[in-house]
């Protein structure tokens, strides 16, 4: 059945909910394996859906295409890894009490529901479903942001809710014009009828772009991200920075390609400007950050800037490039967050300076962190480089060599601040009396997996080739 992965995810959520009700607190440790198992099944189910790519349900209102398939895989993977790095905080394995999170059953439920929302979103073929699943993918995150239930977490939640409400209002307003101009809700029908460039279309496009920008943290609707990422519980920050951003990209695919596909080629300049502003701003502000999560927020803002470069120009390679980069970004960023969580769980650290001497207190994690940061900075042969290269290649193909230059220089700037952490870890001596830091199995697994993926996806062409083979023709199918 085409919807099997979603159903598995929802069923897992329900199962977690029920089990959570039935067992007492001590045994709720089992919830994490349950959620992980469910996610693993969903992953496998998605993989098994591969032959079904191209088919649909509900009279075409729900469909699975190659891009969607990849998105779903990436979302499930991201969730899987996020659960993996969350469970220490939830089960209270860390040594620092302030990092503990309450209500693990509900936490997993909320996360799984969010995941299902994302998965529905990529399969949505009409505005209604797109909107509803987007809300499902977003609103639980507001709650997750405030999950730690302290002052900062609450403030982050408040900001997220307010900007989220604004964003969804603007997005909706834009959608309403899509509807008004065509009288259709099905995306393909809208696309087919939206031929004339009327003023309302332009306004709608702008509003929708801004609404997506909120999800994707594109300038100028990126500003919430820094505060929210900083305040949110660290695993949630990780999730926001990968899955939620991925959802934003999926939404962008749905809107830009599927709905306004014939226009997207003419949009190059807007995207170029937005991408430039996003990566530059993110990078420049990241330089001066002290708080590691806030730092990663700006880093991920700049990554979003790179990510949208795939939309430039009419090249079909943009699609696989973006998907691949998203995949890479997910594993890489999660590797970084795994280390951050590990470190804050062990030491309660918040700041970049707290990482001093990590290469002595835990060399393996320091190495993982360094590799992941280098991948984010786009250093070969790590996957981050390969991904960026393909994205830059899209921009170059579109003739935007200046943008390639800007992006490449930005990579250099980003290297500067990533190296700040590397410097703390490797060059600065450890604090006097620092002892070796132990890493928990879950974090270790996630870190090993992510770092291995970061290296292997870059070196082994298989992954990119697969994405490319699957999705390079997608654009031609969607945009007629």
């Amino acid at each position: 059945m085409l919807m099997l992965p979603e159903i598995v995810v929802i069923a897992t959520a329900m199962a977690v909910l029920c089990v959570d009700l039935l067992i007492d607190e001590k045994r709720r440790v089992a919830l994490a394996p349950l959620a992980l198992a469910g996610l693993a099944v969903a992953f496998v189910a998605t993989v098994l859906q591969y032959p079904a790519i191209g088919s649909d349900m509900f009279g075409g209102r729900y469909a699975l295409d190659s891009v969607g398939w990849w998105f779903k895989l990436i979302f499930i993977l991201a969730t899987l890894l996020t659960v993996g790095i969350s469970l220490d905080s939830l089960d209270g394995r860390g040594t620092v009490p302030s990092e503990r999170l309450p209500a693990r059953g509900e936490y997993y439920v909320a996360m799984l529901f969010t995941l299902s929302g994302m998965m529905f979103m990529v399969s949505a073929r009409d505005l209604v479903m797109l909107y509803v699943s987007l809300e499902l993918a977003t609103i639980p995150l507001f709650a997750l942001t405030a999950w730690r239930r302290d002052s900062l977490s609450g403030e982050a939640g408040l900001k997220y809710v307010i900007i989220g409400a604004l964003g969804s209002a603007i997005l909706l307003y834009g959608f309403s014009f899509f509807y008004g101009l065509t009288g259709e809700t099905a995306l393909s029908a809208i696309s087919a009828k939206l031929t004339a460039l009327t003023p309302a279309y332009i306004l709608a496009a702008a509003m929708v772009t801004a609404g997506i920008g909120f999800k994707m943290t594109l300038v100028p609707s990126h500003m919430w991200a820094a505060d929210v990422y900083q305040g949110a519980p660290t695993p949630v920050t990780a999730y926001l920075s990968v899955a939620s951003k991925g959802a934003g990209l999926a939404l962008m695919f749905q809107v830009f390609y599927r709905t306004m596909g014939h226009l997207v080629n003419d949009w190059t300049m807007v995207i170029a400007v937005v991408a430039t502003a996003t990566m530059t701003l993110g990078n420049l502000v990241a330089i001066v950050q002290q708080d590691i999560k806030r730092f990663m927020a700006f880093s991920s803002i700049s990554q979003a800037g790179y990510l949208v470069m795939g939309f430039l120009g009419p090249a079909p390679e943009g699609v696989p490039a973006m998907l691949y980069y998203l995949l890479v970004y997910v594993v890489t960023n999660l590797a970084v967050f795994a280390v951050i969580i590990f470190h804050s769980n062990q030491t309660g650290s918040r700041n970049v300076e707290d990482y001093r001497g990590l290469s002595r207190t835990n060399p393996a994690m320091a190495l993982a962190m360094m590799l992941a940061l280098f991948s984010l900075a786009g250093i070969p042969p790590l996957a981050g480089f390969v991904g960026k290269f393909f994205l830059f290649s899209v921009a170059a193909k579109a003739g935007l060599n200046w943008l390639v230059a800007v992006a490449a220089v930005n990579s250099t700037i980003s290297l500067y601040y990533y190296l700040r952490i590397v410097r703390q870890m490797y060059i600065e001596p450890a604090v006097a009396g620092a002892t070796a830091l132990r890493v928990t199995p879950a974090i270790a697994c996630v870190t090993v997996f992510s770092v291995a993926a970061t290296i292997l996806t870059g070196v082994i062409p298989f992954f990119y080739e697969l994405v490319h083979a699957d999705t390079v023709k997608w654009l031609a199918l969607v945009v007629r």
Binding site: E25, F58, V132, L136
Partner: protein
Amino acid sequence: MLSAAVTTVLFFALLALAVAFAVATVLTRRIFRSAIYLMGTLATSAAFYVMLGAEFLAGVQILVYVGGIVVLIVFAVMLTSSGEMLEDHPSALRRFLGFVVAAGFCATTVFVCFLTEFKSVAADKAVHAGDAAAIGRKLLDRGAEGYVLPFEIISLLLLCVVIAAIVIARKTGAAAGSGAGAGEQG
């Protein structure tokens, strides 16, 4: 004819009322009143829905929006009032900026709407299908015209939100071990 005229008058009257309520909502210094004015705006909106032939939706608007959401907001107002019943005025700069942005947005939207020709796609304008049955069918239709899937999804959303909201807002302290009660309450 007279009824048509009355309708027209009513339209403009409601229009004025809606705008007045909305303006009052954002300008009043008492947050509780603001909630009440919001209720007014939403109610007038419901009236517009009736005028637009969406009677069912109007009902839902009254029930869910006015009866549910606003009530929730009123609760929130009560729970978060620390005796300061009057809200501080926003700073002049903020008001100015807010006005400029909002006015710019308004002007753009209005301008755009005037410039754009929205073409009806139906041959017969008279067809009126806004009854509850049609909507119900739509919501349960599994075919190409139906919205059964979003309907399911929204239920998931609501479920999830309720659970999450309880976790966030419950009274007990932040200690992880004490999350036991949350599920039962949900």
